[in-house]
């Protein structure tokens, strides 16, 4: 490793972040977010009436989330049907976003979030969450806060942020983390690997600091949209 990572980054350096808003005109809200080559397109439809009626919840709306990887997004073509990983990630992403949404403001309705990973180079679910959070805000869905997410991990005994595809495969441990930045609350936490308690705590702190950086990027993108100059 000799001090730098495979792609030349420092340990605490995220890949280049790219944000595009309103990318799907038919959707109620949409956004694209990228960490380096990993790119996620998120769109929101809703709140809308839910049919059949038995799906409706009396007291609040229902958030439905579908995470999907395009067949061409990875090295070996991924067959289009949802696989077990996509099903678990759809659930995990939904649960990362749900705490931020005031579902009780729209009883009996459904809010659908669709995420398509157009290119995958590690850390797809956090890219997805960042895109979805923007799409939800753009759709006017009432939220407690935006949701920011990033990955951190341990490679070659070094603690790093934003793992790319290769790093994901060879890491000693990787952590997926999402939070509501202004509330200081964690909405997603997954960890795989082998870590001491202290390493785990350090990684959590690292994730938190990088999420604040992502928050600034999200905020600027949203505020920028509403600046009109002529």
């Amino acid at each position: 490793m000799n001090g730098k990572r495979i792609d030349g980054r420092e340990a605490n350096e995220m890949r280049k972040v790219e944000v595009k808003l309103d990318v799907i005109s038919r959707a109620d809200g949409s956004a694209e977010f990228a960490f380096g080559k990993t790119r996620a397109l998120a769109c929101v439809y809703g709140p809308k009436a839910l049919y059949p009626k038995h799906l409706q919840e009396y007291e609040k709306g229902i958030l439905r989330c579908r995470y999907s990887m395009a067949p061409y997004s990875v090295d070996e073509r991924k067959p289009p049907a949802p696989d077990r990983r996509s099903i678990e990630l759809s659930k995990v992403i939904r649960l990362a976003l749900e705490p931020a949404i005031f579902l009780e403001d729209y009883p009996k309705t459904g809010i659908d979030v669709y995420i398509e990973i157009t290119e995958a180079d590690g850390s797809t679910r956090v890219t997805a969450i960042n895109a979805a959070s923007l799409a939800l805000a753009l759709a006017g869905i009432p939220m407690r806060d935006l949701v920011c997410a990033c990955s951190v991990g341990k490679i070659d005994n070094t603690l790093v942020v934003d793992l790319n595809g290769k790093e994901d495969n060879f890491s000693e441990a990787d952590v997926v983390f999402a939070m509501m930045p202004s509330k200081g609350k964690i909405t997603l936490l997954q960890m795989d690997g082998v870590l001491t308690r202290e390493e785990f705590n350090k990684l959590i702190e690292m994730a938190k600091q990088n999420c604040y950086k992502i928050y600034e990027i999200q905020k600027n993108a949203l505020k920028e949209k509403y600046k009109v100059s002529e």
Binding site: D28, T109, G140, R144, Y226
Partner: protein, 221 residues
Amino acid sequence: MSEKERPIVLPGEFLGNKEGKKVGENVYEEDGKIFSKVIGIPKITESEVSVISLAGKYVPKVGDRVIGIIVDVEVSGWFVDINSPYIAFLPLGEAVEEFVDTSRVDISKYYDVNEIIFCRISKVTKNKIVQVTMHDLHAKKLVGGIIIKITPSKVPRVIGRGGSMINLIKNKTGCELIVGQNGVIWIKGKEKAKAIEAILLIEKESHIIGLTEKVEKMLSE
């Protein structure tokens, strides 16, 4: 050179301490502090804190006058699409003056599917069952013309203070214009394309100060 904009707030952004103020629309309170729920323009007065959302669906409110499309004819009423996640119902009794024998009459002769009405929201129950009525001074069937939809929260800007904006558009284009609180707008007239352009401009730049002058300039060209 950027024009003067009203400040935009984002979900989770701190707006101020509660201090006895009313928690208005699109904001929430936590530990005595008030935060925005949406992307929008904050409205902070002595007595209330609220945010005007720049996006979002129409949530029906009693008293609102809305434009709806008939989507289904039932035995004793009609289902009306009011551009909301919640569908509305127009009961026969609220639409027609005379007595109607529903066993003999097919009520689609009064209002049929795809027809457009300007009506008032008369009831919204706790679980969001919505009822509309045609028993209102301004209620009527809208014939001819076309419909466009804008973000409901931008309707006040399209109407303008005391109707100033909407009258400006009417005068400059000679069109008939009815604006529903639910973001549905009905336009009839030869220069409707110009009217539509003006409305879409207002929707896009609703948060910009000096919009009225800009619209006036555009309509005069």
